[in-house]
């Protein structure tokens, strides 16, 4: 095979794989939007109506409990994970740490990153049993935060690493402290950091395994931080397998809500990142 045939074949493979990704994505999103959208748009009230007493059996009422559960679990979890991951990323990228400790911590992060979410779920469940509590919203928050933490740290770490070293030098050069310099570095890396936080949020809102054992599969409105709750992915998981067509259709409506939320988040992250990129050294200038 001569060099040019080789080149052409690889070009074909590269284009085909790119087309496949776009195709699969379009298909998944399209089917969800179509099937879920039909249900949701004929009766948008399902997303804001509390579930009826026999919700899982006859689909009375809506799935507001899961929407609220998702928000009450994922928003606080994202805030916690954001603080932790930003601090860790700053630690890894600054002179707070030595090269060797950074390496070790990076290794642990990779292990965390590669741990299946269900394992976090089981871990937190063990904690719940150990302290004699019941599955509740607060443990869902903890599990999701643990799940998001390595994802967001990795993003933030990469973003900070990509920020020019001279920003640090410039800041130290006028007599800034390490904390002040870290803040400037984060600002310089803000587009990447925001992308990481939003990706963490999106992954968190879409994950079922972590919540399954920790917040539970409640079919009632969440009453407080120590009451059982549930999230949209679990609702979808439970209802998609139901033999009641009405209940199954709610699973599609919930999928629609979830995917629209995730897409909106990604668009928001792009817009925000673009806004801050103007200020980043070497970023886009308008």
């Amino acid at each position: 095979m001569d060099r040019y045939t080789e080149q052409r074949l690889f070009g074909l493979l590269a284009r085909a794989s790119a087309a496949l990704i776009v195709g699969v994505l379009a298909l998944v999103v399209g089917v969800t939007l179509f099937r879920g959208g039909r249900v949701f748009l004929t009766d948008p009230a399902v997303a804001v109506t509390p579930p009826g007493s026999r919700y899982m059996l006859d689909g009375g009422g809506g799935f507001l409990h899961a929407v609220l559960g998702s928000l009450f679990i994922v928003v606080p979890a994202t805030v916690i994970a954001m603080v932790l991951s930003l601090s860790t990323a700053i630690y890894l990228q600054s002179d707070y740490s030595s090269e060797r400790t950074s390496e070790v911590i990076n290794m642990f992060l990779n292990v965390l990153w590669g741990t299946p979410p269900i394992v976090y779920g089981v871990f937190v469940l063990t904690v719940i049993i150990a302290v004699g509590a019941q599955t509740s919203l607060i443990f869902g928050v903890i599990a999701i935060a643990i799940f998001q933490y390595p994802i967001m740290t990795r993003y933030a770490d990469e973003a900070l690493k990509a920020a020019p070293d001279t920003v640090k030098e410039a800041s130290y050069g006028v007599g800034a402290t390490r904390f002040e310099t870290a803040r400037v570095t984060v600002r310089a890396a803000l587009p990447g950091v925001i992308a990481g936080i939003i990706m963490g949020f999106a992954r968190g809102i879409g994950d079922a395994a972590t919540v399954l054992f920790t917040a539970g599969r409640s079919t009632q409105m969440p009453g407080g931080p120590f009451d059982p709750a549930t999230t949209l992915p679990i609702l979808i998981f439970e209802q998609a397998a139901s033999f009641n067509a009405e209940v199954r259709s709610h699973a599609y409506a919930a999928s629609f809500v979830l995917i629209v939320a995730v897409l909106a988040l990604i668009v928001a992250s792009k817009l925000l990142a673009g806004r801050y990129a103007r200020f980043a050294p070497g970023g886009r200038h308008s």
Partner: protein, 289 residues
């Protein structure tokens, strides 16, 4: 500000202990005169930047740097001190080689240092920003767009912005790391003019690759070779009557090649007022022909 003390290094030794041990500075003792511009020259990798950064302990932000010796700053010492590091770095400012805007507006780029070091009212800050931008001849170019991102300026403007940012914390000494190397000739000339005017007020220590630039700007020259100090002298003696053999070699060899590179932009040679520079500029061009 006129009687500020100069810097003096004493047996400064810097070793990088990364994958392999590299001695970047090997016992350098040198004086830096006050209110003068000292150029540090030498071939690449000879420890110029390390010397510069070790003067305000900036090299400490990279891991694996070990240091011995001392830097005297007036009656103070830079290494053996109870002062917090940021205080030292405020008084001995640093301008990085690559023109780097902080990720904020032009105004805040200049005000940044002042804001972290003291309480200024809005009016005081406005004044300070204007004064500093005027000192670096940038005010007229940016006064209508102070809220634009610093990154939106041209590279040459950004480098002057960096100088203004350093001036805003009222340093006594400015460390400039090859501040014109990333710039086009016209911007470089503007930055040089700025440095020229700044040395009335500040002690400037700059690393440069260009012998031309050292001749044009420097009052004193420090020549490093492989981490060792070869010669430190006033510029006239250094270029006209070098003491060390290695200096002679470096000036003739390196100097000529620098001229050949630069011979294409002869247009700015009229602006040279120093006849010493003009005279030496002709010589290598003639050699080329």
């Amino acid at each position: 500000m006129s009687n500020q003390p100069a810097l003096r290094t004493e047996n400064l030794e810097v070793t990088y202990t990364g994958n392999r041990k590299v001695t970047a500075l090997d016992g350098v003792s040198v004086d830096f005169a006050e209110n003068a511009l000292t150029a540090i020259i030498g071939p690449s990798g000879c420890g110029k930047s390390t010397l510069l950064k070790s003067l305000n302990r900036l090299h400490e932000i990279q891991p694996n740097a070990e240091i011995a010796g001392e830097v005297h700053f007036g009656d103070q010492t830079v290494y053996d001190t109870d002062d917090p590091l940021p205080e030292i770095r405020r008084r001995i400012g640093y301008v990085p080689q690559t023109p780097t805007p902080l990720p904020m507006s032009i105004y805040n780029n200049v005000a940044y240092g002042a804001k972290i070091h003291g309480d200024y009212s809005r009016e005081e800050l406005d004044d300070l920003v204007e004064t500093c931008l005027r000192k670096v001849n940038l005010w007229d170019e940016v006064e209508d767009r102070l809220d634009d991102p610093g990154a939106a300026l041209s590279t040459g403007q950004i480098q002057r912005l960096c100088l203004a940012r350093s001036l805003a914390v009222e340093p006594e000494i400015l460390l400039c790391d090859e501040v014109t190397s990333a710039l086009d000739p016209i911007s470089a000339e503007q930055v040089e003019e700025t440095l020229e005017s700044l040395k009335e007020e500040y002690t400037i220590i700059m690393v440069t690759h260009s012998m031309d630039q050292a001749r044009r700007l420097a009052d004193d020259v420090v020549f490093l070779y492989l981490g060792e100090l070869v010669e430190a002298n006033d510029a006239r003696t250094f270029f006209e009557n070098p003491q060390a053999d290695r200096t002679k070699e470096f000036i003739s060899g390196h100097g000529a090649s620098t001229y050949l590179e630069k011979s294409s932009d002869e247009s700015d040679s009229e602006t040279q007022t120093d006849e010493q520079v003009d005279g030496s500029r002709d010589r290598p061009t003639a050699v080329e022909q």
